[in-house]
Amino acid sequence: MPRASAVGLVVNGESRSVEVEPRTLLVHALRDGFGLTGAHIGCDTSQCGTCTVLVDGRAVKSCTMLAVQAEGCDVTTIEGLARDGVQDPIQRAFVEQHGLQCGFCTPGMILTASDLLSRVPDPDDATIRRALKGNFCRCTGYQSIVDSVRVAAATLREGSAA
């Protein structure tokens, strides 16, 4: 039986270590090891995207990655987006544009949007919808989520221009 061993990674900017078995999924290491329960487990079959986190800046489904695969990587969960208690512009846009109802899909939506906006600062709606294909929402009908990402993009562009 393979034993648990310590895996070191940078979580939300802080060097951390967690004892995991090789088979431990990243989402379980984040939730059970670090108490970062913002990475939700929805479908657990790589479909719904609510477990999405950023690994080295790229959106990945943390239910489809082993914790050991993330060793040495920079992992960002929804808890790591706010700075000094101030929401990230994408979080703020989701609140202001009613981009969530029950909120279960929201961490994944926001982190996937973060990956998109880091590469495409001014996406059109088709680009936003394509990027969010792997994130399911059962409440909103998506339009308000697309609106949120578009507004967040504008805010981020203003921020980088200032």
Binding site: P22, H28, T45, A59, T64, L66
Partner: protein, 268 residues
Amino acid sequence: MIPAAVEHIRPSTLDEALEALGDPDAKALAGGQSLLPVMKLRIVRPSVLVDIGRLELGGVRLMNDELRIGALTTWDELESAPELQRPSFAAIAECAAEIGDLQVRNRGTLGGSLAHADPASDMGAVALALGAHLTLRAAGAERALSAEELFLGPFTTALAPGELITEVVLPLVEGSGSAYEKVEHPASGFALAGAAACVTAEGRQRVAVTGVGAHAFLLPLDADPLDALAEAEIYGDRFAPAEYRRHVAGVVAGRALDRARKRAKEAT
């Protein structure tokens, strides 16, 4: 769902990885986007995962008259590789862009997908239409295998135990154009029917289809796709019966050929 207990090793060189893959109960782990889901379902229970994910086996290089793509190149990297904007290889980039979703494309790799051999995988058809060869490595051995020789059945390939796809090599046919088209299952995103086409400056054509049989397969060269598909053994399931899939395969093959021809004209 949690995979069955497994060991994990991360060799620092390809040779070490190949040696570890000599263990018949070992599995190579690249991006994990196909392997981890089947391990979570415990359909696959390797005793050891040989994590090749950090080996230097990625990247797209155009050398002389060949395009060489490292097996660990992700869909995301293929989608944006400048070499794949050329008309000859455009099918690769547009196929990669339609695979799975952003998260899957960030992790999933070309070699992993070909080795997994899902009967509805998109890239199998593209590899066939573009006349790809695979470089296979095993401990102390190397051989080349054509894409046509690779697929034997659903999730079954001609890879010998311990063999690893390290590179996909495609001939550069000057003046050719290629395209990929699919109609996807609305829930899974996999191809109900997909077709890749490659047309040369002289009008020779290669068309391969996926999602409609035991594995992606090449239609007879230069054949009318509709005639060829009428003769082909097509699978059906509860989502799409065989005759519907045959029809859709003909439609996507026609669209792919049209766009490949246009691209071939642009190239000349």
